[in-house]
Every structure is written in structure tokens, then in C-alpha cells.
């Protein structure tokens, strides 16, 4: 399907690299179309487990490494408006829920997006993903229905297909594969072992790998089947 032109796209994820595999091709496409993209990244992935063997980082140096990787990834996608929101990895769900909604509301008020991309609440596995998704849905729910931006959500829990069916938004980002590979490679501390295999599959023309890599899939948030009645 054709990627629709937007006024402004707001991307909200908790970890550097959350955008890389499933969304970076779409982001690059928007940038190429001249659509401004704001990427709010809530933490620096301070609690990432991969320190390497032999180790290339410590628990205390990892945040700086991932901050630099995030900046390089934004450069690869062409994002000029990166917001690092200063929360700590694995603590997002323990923050005050209203404060989290306000954080997203402030971003919406400032950037006036026509599209927001985040995770799907209930189907995004990691507690930080879930907390981010809840905050975004709550903030958007407060926008009067006529003015609401579209909400595309990434879902990858094991039960997703059974419960949500197939994603309704599929972006073919074949034209952006180089940028997508560069984005993934920018997050080297998180992706280096995966990328070796991935780049080989792509180079060999592995059709399943290319399909998975070139198609970015989203669910339009189902307001008629909201994850909660009110907040």
C-alpha cells in the first residue's frame, strides 16, 4: 500500500533501537517525502544485557554508547528532531501514570502530529513497551475525536495474530533498505550478531527475509476495542 503523506509524524518508543527493525524504513520514507518526524525516545536502554564477550561496555558506560548509537541511527534515517526524555530503562511502568500521559500530551501539543507511531498496549511484550503504549493511547484518547491523530501501533506478542488478526497497515520500504540497514548497524551494541546473518540473507536473495525486512506492519489502534474504558 501507498505510504500516506502526513503533516508531522511523532514516534514514541522507550528504547534506542525499538524503531530500528519495524519502523525505520517508514520513518526514512516520511523524511524523504518531506514530512517532519519527531522521535521521542524515553530511555537510553541503560539496562541492556549485551555487554559482549569479551565485554565492550560496563553497566555504567552502556548508556553513553547507546546514546551515540541513537544519534547515529537518527542520522541514518534522516531524523533531525530527536528527543531523549531522560527516563531509566525498565522503570517506565513505575513512573506516575498521569505524569507519563502529560509527557506525551506535551509532545502532541507541541508537534501537532497527524500520525503517532508507538507500541500496541497488551501486545508489545516488554514492560517498558507496554507502559509507553498505555501513555500514548491515554494521551491520544484525550484529544477530541475529530482532531485525533492517527495511531499506528507495533504488536509482536505471541498471541497477536490470534487476537488482533492481520495488521491493517503494511508499508513496503524496499526503496529504503539501505537506510534501514544503516539504522540497524548504527545500533551495533544491540544488533551486531543479528545483522551479520541478516545482511547475508538479504545479499543471498532469501525471499522470506526480504519480505520480513521490507514490509513494516502496523495495527491502527482500535478505539472501538480500547484497552481500558477511561483513565
Amino acid at each position: 500500500m501507498q505510504i500516506e503523506k502526513e503533516r508531522h509524524v511523532l514516534v514514541v518508543f522507550p528504547h534506542p533501537d525499538d524503531e530500528a527493525f519495524g519502523v525505520s524504513g517508514s520513518i526514512s520514507t516520511y523524511i524523504q517525502m518531506g514530512v517532519p518526524v519527531t522521535y521521542a525516545c524515553l530511555t537510553l536502554g541503560e539496562m541492556g544485557r549485551n555487554l559482549g564477550m569479551p565485554p565492550f561496555a560496563t553497566r555504567e558506560t552502556l548508556p553513553e554508547i547507546r546514546k551515540n548509537e541513537l544519534r547515529a541511527a537518527c542520522e541514518a534515517m534522516g531524523i533531525e528532531d530527536l528527543r531523549m526524555m531522560g527516563l531509566r530503562d525498565k522503570t517506565v511502568e513505575f513512573e506516575d501514570d498521569e505524569k507519563m500521559v502529560q509527557l506525551v500530551t506535551d509532545l502532541i501539543d507541541e508537534t501537532n502530529p497527524s500520525l503517532i507511531i508507538t507500541f500496541y498496549p497488551g501486545y508489545s511484550v516488554h514492560p517498558d513497551h507496554e507502559a509507553t503504549a498505555r501513555a500514548v493511547v491515554r494521551a491520544v484518547r484525550r484529544v477530541p475525536e475529530a482532531d485525533r491523530p492517527k495511531l499506528y501501533a507495533v504488536a509482536f506478542a505471541n498471541e497477536t495474530a490470534d487476537e488482533l488478526g492481520e495488521p491493517d497497515v503494511i508499508h513496503d520500504v524496499t526503496a529504503m533498505l539501505d537506510r534501514k540497514i544503516n539504522t540497524l548497524n548504527a545500533h551495533a551494541s544491540q544488533t551486531v550478531w543479528m545483522m551479520k546473518e541478516m545482511e547475508k540473507k538479504l545479499a543471498d536473495g532469501d525471499s522470506e527475509a526480504i519480505e520480513r525486512f521490507a514490509k513494516e506492519k502496523f495495527y491502527s489502534y482500535r478505539w472501538h476495542d480500547d484497552f481500558e474504558e477511561t483513565f
Binding site: 539496562m47 549485551n50 555487554l51 560496563t58 531509566r88 505471541n158
Partner: protein, 116 residues
């Protein structure tokens, strides 16, 4: 970080004994453990910037080592420590990494608070 040399690590642990130190202690299986292995019971714990003063600290066992700190009214210990370093700020960073380099446990001591 380097692989633990028990005598050297013991000397570093001794050097923090009797001082008011900030502690980071963490155990983790990773947030995706139950996603990749359904039915896996995922448990972990995390404390950061809690102040303690220990009178005795010991590294015990072959690698992976156990490190225990005896407090006036309690204990701290970590199991599975494989690597450590004293960083540029004089902090003692100990970690237990599995064979693929993934952190499973961390125990860190510092005379100044760790970043947020």
C-alpha cells in the same frame, strides 16, 4: 572489564570496607525471557544508589564467583560474578556475564552516587 582475578578483586573489595558506599545490585533474565520461552518464570531484582557500610567483604569460589558483604545488620551477596573493573571514577564494577556476553548479575560499589 576483565575476568575476575580473585586476589585482586578481594583487594578492591577490602578497600571499600568500613566506608559509606553506594550500591548497585541487579539480577536479570532479560525482559524477553518469557516471550522466547513461554512458561519461563521470569524473576529479577534491581536496587541502585542504596547506601551501605560493610565491615567484611569476600570473594569466594571458582569462576563464576560469589561476592558477599556483611553489614552491621544484614547482608548483600551476588552469585555468578565473572568480570570486573575499577573504572575511571574509582568505582568497583562487578558483573556476571553468560557465555554470549549477556549480563545476568551486577554488583557495583562507589563512594559517589551512580547516575540516575
Amino acid at each position: 572489564m576483565e575476568k575476575v582475578n580473585r586476589e585482586e578483586l578481594q583487594r578492591h573489595i577490602d578497600s571499600f570496607a568500613g566506608k559509606e558506599v553506594y550500591l548497585h545490585l541487579e539480577t536479570t533474565n532479560g525482559s524477553y525471557a518469557a516471550h522466547f520461552n513461554e512458561g519461563f518464570f521470569n524473576a529479577g531484582a534491581f536496587i541502585r544508589n542504596v547506601q551501605v557500610r560493610y565491615e567484611l567483604g569476600k570473594v569466594v569460589g571458582d569462576s563464576p564467583h560469589r561476592v558477599g558483604l556483611k553489614l552491621p545488620y544484614g547482608w548483600v551477596y551476588a552469585q555468578g560474578i565473572t568480570h570486573y573493573e575499577v573504572d575511571e571514577y574509582g568505582r568497583l564494577l562487578m558483573a556476571g556475564l553468560d557465555s554470549s556476553g549477556k549480563l545476568a548479575v551486577a554488583l557495583e560499589l562507589s563512594e559517589t552516587p551512580f547516575a540516575y
